[in-house]
Amino acid sequence: MTGRTWIVACTAVAAAIAAAPAPIAQTQQTPVFRSGRVAVRLDVLVTDHDKPLTGLGAGDFEVLDDGVPQTVDLMSFDSLPVNAIAALDLSNSVDGERLDHLRSAGHAMVDALQQGDRAGVIGFSHSVQLGAPLTADFARVAAAFDQAKAGGGTALYDATYAGLVLGESDMAHSLLVIFSDGLDTSSWLRRDAVLDAARRNSVVVYGVSVKAKPLVDTGSNAERVAALNTNRRQAEKAYGAAVPDPSPQFLIDLADITGGALVEVDSTRHLDDEFARIIREFRLRYLLSYSPAGVSSTGWHRLEVRLKTVRGKDITVRARSGYFAG
């Protein structure tokens, strides 16, 4: 389940908290909201045969908070601006034609934005660098894509964290698009720490990854496949464990936690189409809100979002897997 959750207190209280000076780190966690009604906002994508399904209402949805059904309101995204942050893997493996395609994809993303939206660019190798801050100056964002240069390691976890924090810098509708092969080699932050930050965060993450090609291509030759499998088992025995098939698991996990998606492409040639599609799809999410009832006011809450009235085996509902309260 993937999606997006906001925890919102009364406006006045939220403003007062935001204005307070940052406290010295404490060993005991203090509540984020001290008073007022608390509403949980979820953004949800419904697809039918992989195409966004629109026209649904509040009554079509069922939300379970830690298994407890909740009463749902509905808010549309039509009027909410988008903050779109692109985090681009600029390590050694992204060079030449790939970099050109990435630049084109950046332009396609900018072209899909509308007035009122903002965009930002983070480029990363082993260093995490700001290409463009969140800005409505789309020309500046496009220039950031054009100036991107490749070279170095891959600090995927560090860059993801920076993008998540940048995305939650205001309460807008924030999307982080990460382009990477999903293999971190340089970060200081640990994988689990970044996933944990994503759980506490309101940004939706879409990962875009190029499928890994095998070193040895056996094609469909049964004999070669059998030989490779035999060799692989021997190699795994020497290694000490079975080796999974390659997959950008970090990006998959991020998508699941945040309500986004992973887009895997065979090559970077049509990356521009994918980036533009992500922006368009992001606008077509439903925003559900509810005031939690019958559940704890603190800690991690597991969320399930289902459709009550629409059925079909090709219908999928993507929503965030949970949220931290208190």
Partner: protein, 481 residues
Amino acid sequence: MPLPRLVAGLLGAMAAAAVAGAALPPRAIAAQTAPARKRATIATTKQLRGTIDLERVHNWIAAARAHQTAQFDAAATAIDRWPDEALAVTITDVVDLTRMVRFLDAIRTGGSDGPTLTHRDRSFALTPSARADGKAGEIAVLDQVLGLDPSEPRTPQINHLLELGAMLHTDLGARGEASSNDLSRAASLDARRPKRMGMLDGHVVSIVDNAQHWAYARFLLDAVGGSMATPPARWQDVEPDPSAEAFVARWYRATSAWLQSQGRWADADPQMAYGLEIFPEDARLWFYAGVMHEIFATSQIQQAAQEMIRSGFVQQVHVESNELDTAQQDLRRAVTLDPDFAEAHLHLGHVLGRQGSHADAIAELMLASRTIAGAELQYDTRMLLSREQEATGDQVSARANIERAAALFPRAQSPRLALSELLHRGSDPLAAQAPVEVLLQLPADESARVDPWWNYTRSHVRDAGAKLDDVWRQVRAEDVR
């Protein structure tokens, strides 16, 4: 210290079929009470049946004496063209000749049997019988072949020749090798011949033929040693002991460090293994070995190794948990041998942290922090301490160490990220934004925002080049001709 770039390296690999399921076993620590240690060997299909190609021996010795420090000069060029088989046989012959000289030198005042060397055409033939009165003539011939001065003690001369030969092959081994970037060839490679996979940023990017020069160098240095008090019954049983030779110890340390600095894991692993066989009490070698396994446990090495495994290649890296276990074992040995080895405590602390032993990690890192020298290493220690302290719930100490690290390198990105994550996890996610905003304002030029963490896996061999230069200076200082 140069900024890190790629995470490059060469992992040793063989097609699984060639290995027939036999893994490169985790290296066992050489027990102090173990019998004869494993000696360096080189592969040759020609067993020494008594015929030595004198011309090849002469040419090899001439090249070893003529070769200049770390240059690919005419001497090195000439030897580099030799086929592996010819090199292996010739080096074996040279070593055997030195053993014969040692043997004859030791018995020439005695009356025990030994081999008779007969000069036949341009080669030597060995016959089983011997006569004591022939020894002087035989040793004179060997002096001539090996270029020894009979008026000077032979042992130092032999050692020097072997050391020169080892340095020739060290320089040849250190050269970049021709590689193929055509990975489609991987499936058609000769499975009988070991390969090395070049890797970059966690991906396998090339295939490199496995040259033997490091093995030749080790083999030569295994024949270095002092004079024998009592020779064995046969010259074939002469086994000098290099463990008392300062040059050999420095060579293993310097080359182990250099190979690691270049990411040449395929060669670094056996280099340290053999070094530790000879010098099991060398804390520095245990340190290098431990850090190597610490690096083998990192994601970039594990990912490259898994890529090779999926293609059916047995390679030298083991699963992450096993590598961390070996790293801990080796680093503990280093700090046991040298309790003041601050850098070993640092890396041991990191390994323990990765294994989830946070309290033990903190203890090691605190030991390191008391004496570790240099801003980069102090930074590493503070950052790793902060991580372990956060893991134990000590947010206050964690934050203090992050800030101390940031004070050492104000433009490093890792402390900003660490502080932000600490705040994000704690009571104030809003405050977590400020450090990230500072991070994202850092200059694009990496030389203006150095982060020692980028170099953590190379910092332990930061002086590798200088160490190797020292070894060359030592061997040249011992030139007697």
